[in-house]
Amino acid sequence: MSELETKERIQPGSAPGEDVAFEIIGDGDFPTTDMSLSIGPAHPATHGVFRIVLEMDGERVKRATPVIGYMHRGFEKLAEYRDYRQIKALVNRHDWLSGFSNELGVALAVETMLEMEVPDRAQWIRMLMAEWNRILNHLMFIGSYALELGAITPMFYAFRERDDIQALMESATGGRLHFTYNQVGGLKIDLPKGFLQESRRISTQVRERLPDYDDLVLGNEIFHGRTKGVGPLSTDVALSIGVTGPTLHATGVPEDSRVTEPYLKYGEIDVKVPVGENGDAFDRFYCLLRRIDASLDIIDQVHDHIPAGPVNSKLPKMVKAPEGATYVRTENPLGQLGYWLESDGGRTPWRLKMRTPSFSNVQAIPHLMEGALLPDAISILGSVFFVVGDIDR
C-alpha cells in the first residue's frame, strides 16, 4: 500500500504537480460544433471489436456511448442445444482469457442441482487451476494496458510468464486457452506426474519476476502521468451499476465472492483482496497487479493442501439435471460471474442466463469518460478491464 499512501491527487490532463488554468480569450462565445467520433469496432485499443461513439466538444468528451454486439455469438441460446457435458466447451469461450473459471461456474451449477459430492482432491485442483488462470488473465491485461499507453515492452514480459503458465496448464489439461478440464462431479483426468513440483517452480519464478512489472510499469513516470487521477470511479456509482472485480476493488470495496461467499475450499485458506483508494486508472491497474501476488499466495497454500484420492465421481451415461433452477456465482478474474441454470429435467438446460463481469464493468465507461480529454479516453477504456466476448456473449 506504500505507493497508494504517497499518491497525490492531480487534475486530469495535467502533468504531475502542475495545475491547469484555462484562460478564456474573447467573450467566450466562440461557436464550435460538436463532433461525433467513432472508435472501433476495429480499433487496437479496444482489444477486440468493441465500439464507442464519443461526442466531442473540442478535446473534451461530452458523452460516450458504447455500442456492443459485434461479438454476439448467441451463447445463451446455443447452451439450450448442448447437453451438460458439451456446455463446458462452449462457456469457456465467452471470456476467452478465463476459460477455466467459466467452466468451473457451470460445473458448480450442475453439481448444485444434482446435489453431488465432489471429491476433495478435485476441489483443491480446481482452485489451483482457477488461480493459475487468474494470473494468465491479469498478465494479459497488464501487457495490453501498457501497450495501449504506448509501451510495447511489458507485453513481451507478460507473454514470457504466460507461455510458462500455459505450458504448465497444458501438461494437465491439454489446452492452452480453453481447457475443458472440469467435468460434472470432478475433473477430466488426474494431474500428471511431477505437476506439483513444476507448479511450485513456476510459482517461485513468477514471484521473482513480478518486481519487473513494478519497476517497468508501476514505477514509470509516464505511466503515472497517464493514469493518476484519470477516470476516477466513485464507490456509489460502481455499486449502483454492478461493477465487480478489480475495477470495484480499486474504489476501496473488498467485495470478492471467494471471501464473502466462499465456494470450493476458499473458506479454508487465506484469501487476500488488494484494494485501492481513488478508483482511478492507476488504482485499477495497481489492484490487477497486486491480485497476481494474492493468487500466488493462494497457489502456494493449495500446494500444501491437495490430498490424495479420486478426482471424479461416477456419472450416469447421460447427465440430466433435475427439474428446478439454481444460481451460482464465482469470482472470475474480471469480476463476478453468475450462471442462472434452469432445467426441465431434460438432457439440455432449459435456460442458461449469464451474468458476466465485463458486461457490468463497461457500464462504467460513459460515467468515466464524461469530461475527460480524448487522449485520456484510451487510458480509461483500457483501465476498465473487459473482454469483448464476455460483454456480448
Binding site: A42, R73, L78, R93, F159, L177
Partner: protein, 180 residues
C-alpha cells in the same frame, strides 16, 4: 504497379522479386476473439513470427499485405471486415486463423455468426484449430510464403488465384508450390 499487372516477369527477375515480397509481409491482424490471443502469443518472444519476415505493425489496412482474420466473425462485424479488406492494396493475402474464421467453429448453429470468413473475402490459407497453436500460425505463414514464391504477380492481380491451402488436409507443403 503499372507494369506488373500487364507483363509477365522473366523467371530470374520473378524469383528475386517474389523472394523479396514473401519475406516482407506487413501484417494487419484482424483480432476478433480468442484466436487473437494466440496470434499475439505467436508474435512475442517465444514463437516470434517476425523472424519469418512477418511484421505485425502495419498502421492500417492500406499499408498491409497480409490480413490475418483471427476469431469469430459475426454478421454485425462482417461489413467492417469486408471494407477493411477492400482498403488493402493488391497484391493482398488472407490467412483465416482458427475454426470460427474457417467455418463458424463451435458456433456452427448460431443465429448471429457468419459461417466462415470465406463467405465475404477470398482466403489463401486456412489454419484449423480452436484456437490453433502459435506453431500452426507459423506453419500457415510458411505455406503462404511458398505460394508467394511460386506465383505470377500478373495472374494474381488479374484475380486468377490458386485454390486455398488448408493446413493438415492438403498435400505436404513442399509439393504445393512446385505444381504451379
Amino acid at each position: 504497379m503499372g507494369l506488373m499487372d500487364q507483363v509477365e516477369l522473366p523467371q530470374p527477375v520473378k524469383y528475386v522479386f517474389n523472394w523479396g515480397r514473401k519475406y516482407s509481409l506487413w501484417c494487419f491482424n484482424f483480432g476478433l476473439a480468442c484466436c487473437a490471443i494466440e496470434f499475439i502469443a505467436a508474435s512475442t518472444s517465444r514463437h516470434d513470427f517476425i523472424r519469418h519476415g512477418v511484421i505485425p505493425f502495419a498502421h492500417g489496412p492500406r499499408q498491409a499485405d497480409l490480413l490475418v482474420v483471427s476469431g469469430t466473425l459475426t454478421d454485425k462485424m462482417a461489413p467492417a471486415v469486408k471494407r477493411l479488406y477492400e482498403e488493402m492494396a493488391e497484391p493482398k493475402y488472407v490467412i483465416s486463423f482458427g475454426s470460427c474464421a474457417n467455418c463458424g467453429g463451435p458456433y456452427w448453429d448460431s443465429y448471429s455468426v457468419t459461417k466462415g470468413v470465406d463467405q465475404i473475402i477470398p482466403v489463401d490459407v486456412y489454419v484449423p484449430g480452436c484456437p490453433p497453436r502459435p506453431e500452426a500460425l507459423l506453419d500457415g505463414i510458411i505455406a503462404l510464403q511458398h505460394r508467394i514464391q511460386n506465383e505470377s504477380l500478373k495472374d494474381r492481380i488479374a484475380g486468377r488465384r490458386l485454390d486455398p491451402v488448408t493446413l493438415g488436409a492438403d498435400a505436404p507443403l513442399a509439393l504445393e508450390g512446385s505444381s504451379s
